[in-house]
């Protein structure tokens, strides 16, 4: 099969990134809860242990703080570590090594020692899992200087951004969403990376710009397809990296459309969507023809009950109605 047409699921694209990274560089290692179990990490770690051994692929006790600190320390000592948290919620035990140590290490030590670590947090929600098994905490990490935050929305980007994150000499928070794991798309077999901090136009349009992140990218595409039937032309931008953010790309789009909807699966207050709205006000004020609209989670912990979940999570219909409201159509 040609590399131009080979399709792979999102989770297997991550898996392929690991195989290629580990094959190329013996200093790459993966540590974290559940790397042996599909219940935790789907098939992202498939075949790694038989191929690279239980020293470089380590399933761990339930000890997020120490395991993450160990991953940071190993990175300081010359490894390239990936530490996985099969739910972002569990990663909160590891806030100290991530923020106090990894994020600050370079600056507070005058740039003497790089911290090539990827902290991989999985958003795993829905299914009435409730408040402690559903959180999407990208904004918290994007807030902290010294951390880069990537959120791939497609299988192609999942592979390319994982490779970029591992090759980066700085702490990168890699956030994926289990809702995307079965998405299939063309993924080249070659080893490639996607520059961190570069967004992409997913669909060109002229009436309105939708900046969508992670699982909301496919939702935005659905919304755009529906609105196209009514003659509404939606441009979709996927930043892919939420920090550093490719605001230039958004600005260029706003010069054309003058209208902005931001869709992010985190909470509304102080969220990524709020940051993008603030940038629009700062940098594109003269281009804006209407107020910016955020589509995000209400400021409520994740509910369990299916009825509340349905009202809680933004979907394409919420993006559609935000667009219609802005355009009065």
């Amino acid at each position: 099969m040609s590399s131009q047409t080979r399709k792979l699921s999102y989770s297997l694209a991550i898996n392929e990134a690991f195989h290629q990274l580990m094959e190329r560089d013996e200093s790459v290692m993966l540590i974290g809860q559940g790397v042996k179990s599909p219940w935790y990490v789907g098939n992202t770690a498939l075949g790694l242990i038989p191929r690279f051994g239980e020293r470089r692929i380590i399933d761990t006790p339930v000890s997020e703080n120490a395991m993450t600190g160990a991953a940071v320390g190993a990175a300081l000592a010359g490894m390239r570590t990936i530490v996985v948290h099969p739910r972002m919620d569990f990663m909160l035990y590891a806030i100290d090594p991530i923020i106090n140590e990894a994020a600050n290490w370079s600056y507070m030590n005058g740039g003497k020692l790089p911290v090539p670590i990827v902290i991989w947090g999985v958003i795993n929600r829905g299914g009435e899992q409730g408040a402690q098994h559903s959180q999407a905490l990208q904004a918290m990490f994007a807030h902290v200087p010294g951390l880069k935050v990537v959120m791939p929305a497609t299988p192609y980007d999942a592979k390319g951004l994982m490779i970029a994150a591992v090759l980066d000499n700085n702490p990168v928070i890699f956030i994926d969403d289990r809702w995307l794991y079965n998405t299939e798309d063309v993924v080249p077999e070659e080893f490639y990376s996607i520059p961190i901090g570069k967004g992409i136009i997913r669909r060109e349009g002229k009436d309105i710009t939708v900046v969508a992140i992670s699982y909301l990218v496919p939702e935005a595409v659905k919304a755009a397809e529906e609105l196209a039937l009514d003659g509404i032309s939606v441009e979709i931008i996927d930043p892919r990296t939420v920090k550093p953010l490719d605001y230039d790309l958004i600005h260029q789009s706003l010069q054309k459309t003058g209208r902005l909807v931001v869709a992010d699966g985190g909470w509304k207050t102080g969220g990524i969507a709020a940051e993008i709205a603030a940038l629009a006000a700062e940098k594109s004020f003269s281009n804006l023809k209407a107020p910016v609209v955020r589509v995000a989670l209400p400021d409520v912990p994740a509910p369990a009950s299916r009825t509340l979940e349905e009202a809680y999570y933004p979907r394409s219909k919420d993006i559609c109605s935000a667009i219609r409201k802005l355009l009065n159509r």
Binding site: K36, Y93, G130, D299, P303
Partner: protein
């Protein structure tokens, strides 16, 4: 310890009630009537029952992801629990929490939560509150063998010992933490010994023997009430069902990594069957006595499931309610 027949019947009823609830969830989980993750405690009923029967109503309990038994044994409302697992508005957490968030403050059940070891320090705090007030209440922290990996357990053990807080650490050691056997996460199986370096009274009991658990906890409660806490008790047990759901099936593949002969061995040590044997052979109960209890429990649980199924889901307009208390 001499027991009255009423006490013994109470232990039996409590364990049976938990079991019948747990087994009652299997069908609605399989047919997707229940969606939320459910961690059944079938096989571990003697711990919840033995511990909570040694407590007073105003003593405190905190649980983890596998806390149906803790909640029921402490006196939590049955209907409200079943309804919560069905995520209905009539549930103990009003359908906001599901199976992993069981609470009934009216009987000292201050909550359960699935962040591993997350509630250990909360139980520590409840014990501290009792200690500050001098109220004599005891706090119990239920956690699994998996939680021994988390640093907060050791921080809590140290502080509890330092201040002689009235807390009982109950480790339910079922030999597995999700997909990992205890030997893959610890160098020693002797969990109870982790309390020793902190100067804590630490014990191990057969967690499938409700009387041993009750007796050990009764002594621990007495120590705590006399300012001689904390106490650490490891209860050896085994889960009869999957880590989550009726069995360990992930995407159609059987992922229960536990050896078949180990499972078989432990099924023979079913805490309820063992206790039935004891009641019949040594405590003068007849099979008619046990049947009577079984029927009563069956009816009560059936009624609770009917109640849950007839209850409404939370209304979408109420999504933002309860973020803050009034």
């Amino acid at each position: 310890m001499p027991y009255t027949n009423k006490q013994l019947a109470g232990f039996y009823r409590s364990m049976l009630r938990i079991r019948i609830c747990e087994e009652g969830f299997v069908e609605p989980i399989n047919n997707r009537e229940i969606l939320c993750p459910v961690h059944l405690c079938s096989g571990e009923e003697a711990i919840a029952t033995g511990v909570c029967s040694a407590l007073q109503k105003d003593d405190y309990v905190f649980g983890n992801h596998r806390s149906h038994g803790h909640y029921l044994a402490k006196g939590g409302d049955l209907k409200a629990m079943i309804a919560e697992v069905f995520c209905r508005d009539t549930g103990c957490s009003r359908g906001r929490g599901g199976s992993m968030h069981l609470i009934d403050p009216s009987c000292g059940m201050l909550g359960s939560a699935p962040i591993v070891a997350g509630t250990i320090s909360l139980a520590l705090g409840a014990a501290m509150a009792s200690w500050v007030r001098g109220s004599g209440q005891v706090a119990v922290s239920f956690f699994g063998d998996g939680a021994t990996g988390e640093g907060v357990l050791y921080e809590s053990l140290n502080f509890a010992a330092l201040k002689t807080l009235p807390i009982i650490f109950i480790c339910e050691n079922n030999l597995y933490s999700t997909h990992l056997s205890i030997d893959e996460i610890r160098v020693s199986r002797n969990i109870y010994k982790i309390g020793l370096p902190f100067g804590e009274k630490s014990y191990r009991v057969d967690g499938n023997d409700v009387l041993r658990v009750h007796e050990q906890t009764t002594k621990a409660v007495e120590l705590c009430r006399n300012g001689k806490g904390p106490v650490f008790i490891e209860c050896l047990t085994y889960r009869q069902r999957g880590h989550v759901g009726p069995d360990d099936n992930v995407q159609g593949t059987h992922t229960d990594i536990r050896p078949a002969n180990e499972i078989k061995k432990w099924m023979k040590k079913d805490p309820i069957k063992l206790f039935e044997k004891y009641l019949l052979s040594q405590a003068g109960f007849t099979s008619g006595d046990l049947k009577k209890i079984q029927h009563a429990v069956d009816d009560e649980v059936q009624e609770a499931f009917d109640f849950a199924r007839m209850s409404p889901f939370p209304a979408q307009e109420d999504l933002t309610r309860h973020v803050f208390s009034n």
